[in-house]
């Protein structure tokens, strides 16, 4: 396998990200609303300041959010590719079809990382980042989180026939994954049922890994729930599993969708 097809898919993803300015803008505004509005609101309500401030706790969560939305939506564009016909260019190209899935995951992950880095720059400007960031862990966390979100996106795309049910994906996948993680509250403090669900949610470990990067100066009450090794192991297992399942599903589906194409086609010969 030549690397150029993978590069082509990644390049197209990045090109489209910067071309769709509104998508990029909303990817920046959404986390900032959480941080500046909800974070400040809770702080006022709970009377918290300084290292115990809730808005500092939210920093890893909103960085994760930028990647969850950014990488998932980029991976979900696979559905758009099927609808618009661009997928034909991919399925007719001379490589095994599972490479389409792998290239899409990589492209979506890179789109997610770009959005997270842009958000980090904004947060630094707003004074939300601390001086003692663990850069190595941050790099690892960005990479693993972006890949996990991208593979979750491709897994969702493999079962999504059209983007008409976009709101369904939003409500049934993205929101539960985000809210049932440690993004908004420490997992250890959740009630038993919610904690169990959160521990089954791979995204929980992504946010936890981001917390290990020590992005803002938070107090000991907001410490990560798991070890770095646990986070990395769970995320790696999820990325591999989700990508393999999506590859299998996709290799069936390319033949399946061709069938639909033939039968449902207006005037197809």
């Amino acid at each position: 396998m030549n690397y150029r097809p993978v590069l082509a898919v990644v390049q197209r993803e990045v090109l489209k990200l910067f071309r769709q300015r509104s998508r990029l803008l909303s990817a920046m505004i959404r986390p900032l609303i959480w941080l500046l509005v909800i974070g400040a609101g809770f702080d006022a309500m709970l009377g918290r300041t300084g290292a115990d401030s809730y808005k500092y706790f939210l920093v890893p969560g909103v960085i994760g959010m930028a990647m969850l939305f950014g990488a998932m939506l980029a991976a979900l564009s696979t559905v758009y590719d099927k609808e618009s016909g661009v997928m034909r260019m991919l399925v007719i190209a001379p490589f095994e079809h599972y490479w389409i899935v792998i290239a899409k995951v990589l492209g979506a992950a890179i789109a997610g990382i770009i959005q997270a880095v842009l958000l980090l720059v904004l947060l630094a400007l707003f004074g939300y980042l601390g001086s003692d960031i663990h850069w190595g862990v941050l790099l690892l966390a960005l990479l693993m989180t972006a890949l996990a979100c991208a593979s979750l996106g491709i897994l969702t795309a493999a079962w999504t026939p059209t983007l008409d049910n976009y709101a369904v994906i939003m409500n049934l996948v993205i929101f539960p994954v985000f809210f049932l993680s440690g993004s908004l509250y420490p997992v250890a403090q959740l009630p038993d049922v919610l904690r169990t669900i959160a521990m089954l949610n791979p995204y929980t470990y992504a946010v936890d890994l981001l917390k290990h990067a020590n992005l803002s100066m938070t107090g000991p009450g907001f410490a990560p729930d798991f070890s770095i090794a646990t986070d990395v192991a769970v995320l790696a297992a999820f990325i591999v599993l989700a990508t393999v399942v999506a590859c299998l599903r996709f290799s069936q589906e390319s033949r399946y969708s061709a069938l639909i194409h033939v039968l449902a086609k207006k005037g197809g010969g």
């Binding site: 150029r4 090109l15 260019m89 190209a93 095994e96 061709a258 194409h261 033939v262």
Partner: protein, 326 residues
Amino acid sequence: MMRDAPDLAKYLAVHANGLTKQYGETLAVDRLDLDVPTGEFFGLLGPNGSGKTTTIHMLSTLVRPSSGQALVAGHDIGRNGVKVRGAIGVVFQDSALDRTLSVWENLRFAGMLAGLTGKVICERTDELLDLFGLGEQRHKSVGSLSGGMRRAVDVARGVIHRPQVLFLDEPTIGLDLPNRKKIWRFIERLRAQTGMTVLLTTHYLEEAADCNRVAFIKKGRIVKSGTPQSLIDGLGEHVIEIEGEKLDGIVNDLKANLGEPVLEEDRASFRFSGSPADLLNIQADLAPRVTGLKVRRPNLNDVFLWVSETEALSRRPGERGVRTAR
């Protein structure tokens, strides 16, 4: 499965044997045998739903045949899909382009997917845009182009990696006449320049007149094949069309001498081969008995109509498709 036969590719770009595709109860392609010599411009003709697109999808490895085998450019479509896809180009009925990207970005994307280097992609893009007269559209988004230009870019997209075999599935569908002609000029130039084998499907039969050979497909079977001229010549020298309200008696009279007609509502068409004097006699005899009378040269449409009518009558169920003559 067939063994890959690279040597065969020198002579046969496509070699299919008993290719069959069944979707549930529907038999889309029925034991199709097809040989397309290398370098040939071959037309697979037939009405909508006759199995043309399914055949192209099987040959381009997008759909797995239910049974039968095929070699494309010497590679087995079942066992060696990646090699087949490396040797072919496909222009689908619907555009495969990304409308949000520019012409250049689309061609670069297609070139990179085929594994070409940046330098080669630049050269080929220049060459193709020049050939199709689209140089000025290079940086325009595909969504802003006219339907005809978009199709031309889609053809360029399909050939940027210089495939040995190009599949064109209804390349001019939905285009107006000037744009259809333009697309054909591009394809003609491409063939002249590269010598690639082209397998075309269309139901605009007049577009297949330039093919080296054509095969008529109906209900997933090839019912007749040959050069367009030999098929037209084989039909007869003239087609006599008569129109009228009660044609049954006249049709029965003529059938005895002229063979099976093609019947459409209040019109009947007969084939005629014979002396000009005989033709004049028939015309003189028919003129007072019908409301419309026309004598004209046959074309590919007529071949297809007669094939559909008469093959259906003479074919027994279970009979094999006709192997196309080389």
